[in-house]
Symmetry: C2
Subunit: 414 residues, 2 copies
């Protein structure tokens, strides 16, 4: 491996562990733009300075920690986010940010210089708890429309005010956008948030892409009526029809495997009283797959099944597409750089899709992208019960370190 | 029909229609013990006085309008309730009360004397919107425990205070109780609240009994998890298991006809978010039948099905009985008195169970009971869209009138 002259280099596990602990002490509910989020950001910026990085905040509020290279550009970018869902646990996003800082701290201490400038990024508002979908990574790829800065959260604050409150410059939001070619590659280390790596006993996941998602609203309209006085034959029970549709989704995915996963996560019954036949049911349908074509075919199939159920159950059953996110493919060369790093470290890998969305999905629009997963105990995520062992965290950080060095040694691509 | 000397007697349809309209003008949301309920009660008491009745309020807040008979006791009792669910429509309960007053007004005008005293009752709190299950009819059969007077509604008011606010005497609640033998028969005219009479084209329903009800809580416990990162094979989706159970109930009742009706009216999902696999589902199960044995057998069968679904879906699925109401059979002689009245009036009848609960269910515990149903348009009930034509209302009132006269002519039973 001539293109990695520092194969014995390893990150400082204790320092990484201490920093994960330090951020957890800020609290694991750090909704983007909240006081807790700001305290977390302050702590992370201090860590960046300890690592010898030049710290700036871009106009979208993304924190950047830069280490110069032998050339000015393009930059190798890596990082994640530190904002959370409520009680979001200590690893989701955080691990990617703190491991990235640790990698640069390690290079700094070992006095290793790189050809390309290296940049850690802590993206603003990835979880989007107050401003859904309006992430800092979206601004970085130039897809945050300035008109969206006027959107308000539940408290009435605009996104513009929120970005200002974390040191961004909403008036210059366009300057947060990077252009194709600015970034040699974007790499993100993240906890898997699923149980696949644990069940396989694989310490490292090499992400082949981030699934696309289709969200649909499902509405069932029957007849609200008295449960005691309406014979079964005269009923148009919206919940019974909804149950048939739920099982149709389960069958389409689990048996026919039309797409990777399909979920009805939300269901509301009207009027929802024990002695009233449900007249109306609203549900969400979510379909995910690495190939958008498979999502669309599944949706089409479920539309047909819905029509059949509507007829047999004498109800109206309507599917309305609400949102669609395109899949993002990982870059082959970045995946190979990750594989090579894992091989160097003697860590087995499993190639897999990311079922969850990540900032990497945005970055893939303007740069070669890759992601490294480490196991989540029990596949548990978005809760304080989230856990990844420090060994797994350190493995991920070391794979990230050597992935960066591998990418740094790329010959200029044509 | 020697025992009905007044076979040409008919109620005054216009007066009945005007009184139904008058009560509707008070508003069709008259929750028991509310200001609107009190206004309705005042209007009804005025109507009773117009009909020449002696008006009193019993200690439980039931309004009584009495017309003396040739003997002191036992009394023939008939009536219903005027309290409503929110936007409860203009016929539910009201028709039984106003038709009862109309019957006595008609007898008064025709100067017809009866052997037995006749008593119209307007029961308090039948719908139980603020104090569920604590009805005036329950007090009349001596089954309201004085300790229940201390129960509070959502606003903090006790039942005792509520009963006082409508002129009752909670301190003497036991005196509201009648004893077996006090009441020769209890008859209640009510809108069907279902679509059976309309679909059969029958103007009069003769109720054979009021169904018993079993309420059960159904709890499904699976695993809450990220919908994107958890493969189908690793899921324990509580909603998919709940859907299987909903269809098992539908199949047990609709196909196997284990009991008359079965309903899952309420269903709540936790955490109920579009991108989270449902970890928990709570449902209500309601089973109704004229025979308690059939209800219990159905429940037992569904317990077994629940256990099978729990195993195949890898969730916990538990049924917990919450409340059970025994069926109440109508009295044969009262049913015959109703049939004879309908025959006299040349109205066809359909013998049927009452799927809904009524004050008559309580009264059946201490007196021979019977109910007369008239059609509900479209089977629609408990909404402002409830409708029964004035012809159907008048038919019901005339059947009630002649049922009372028929019962009055009963020979003393052994």
């Amino acid at each position: 491996m001539k293109w990695n002259a520092h194969s014995n280099l390893r990150i400082n596990v204790d320092r990484l562990a201490a920093r994960i602990e330090q951020l957890a002490q800020v609290g694991t509910t750090r909704l983007a733009f909240s006081d807790a989020d700001r305290r977390g950001r302050t702590a992370v910026m201090a860590m960046m300075r300890e690592a010898g990085l030049n710290v700036t905040i871009d106009p979208a509020g993304n924190i950047l920690g830069r280490r110069a290279g032998q050339i000015e550009a393009p930059v190798i970018l890596f990082g994640s986010h530190i904002d959370t869902v409520p009680h979001g646990g200590r690893y989701d996003g955080v691990l990617g940010c703190l491991a990235s800082i640790e990698c640069l701290h390690t290079l700094q201490e070992a006095d290793v210089s790189t050809k390309h400038p290296l940049e850690v990024v802590v993206f603003a508002n990835e979880e989007g708890q107050l401003f859904p979908g309006l992430s800092g990574s979206r601004a970085m790829v130039g897809e945050l429309d300035p008109s969206e800065l006027l959107l308000r959260d539940a408290s009435g604050r605009t996104l513009s005010q929120a970005i200002e409150s974390i040191g961004g410059r909403p008036d210059r939001i366009e300057e947060a956008a990077r252009r194709r070619g600015d970034i040699l590659a974007y790499v993100e280390l993240h906890v898997e948030q699923g149980g696949v790596l644990e069940s396989l006993g694989a310490p490292i996941g090499v992400v082949q892409g981030i699934v696309g998602i289709l969200y649909s609203h499902v509405h069932v309209l029957g007849d609200t009526n008295h449960s005691g006085t309406t014979p079964m034959a005269l009923r148009r029970d919206a919940l019974v029809a909804a149950a048939r549709f739920i099982l149709a989704v389960d069958e389409a995915i689990r048996r026919h495997q039309f797409c990777t996963v399909g979920t009805i996560g939300r269901l509301d019954v009207l009027p929802n009283a024990r002695n009233v036949i449900p007249g109306e049911v609203s549900m969400t349908l979510e379909l995910r797959d690495l190939e958008e074509e498979r999502i669309l075919r599944t949706f089409e199939y479920l539309r047909q099944r819905a029509a059949e159920i509507a007829t047999s159950s004498r109800v109206q059953l309507e599917l309305v597409e609400r949102e669609r996110f395109k899949p993002a493919q990982a870059d082959r060369a970045v995946m190979q750089a990750i594989e090579a790093a894992a091989t160097l470290l003697d860590l087995s890998t499993h190639t897999m899709p990311s079922g969850a969305g990540h900032d990497a999905q945005m970055l893939a629009r303007i740069a070669p992208m890759g992601m490294i997963f480490v196991p989540s105990a029990g596949g548990i995520s978005h809760t304080d019960r989230e856990f990844t062992s420090i060994e797994d965290c350190a493995n991920g950080a070391n794979v990230l370190l050597h992935t960066i060095l591998n990418i740094d040694s790329w010959r200029m691509r044509s």
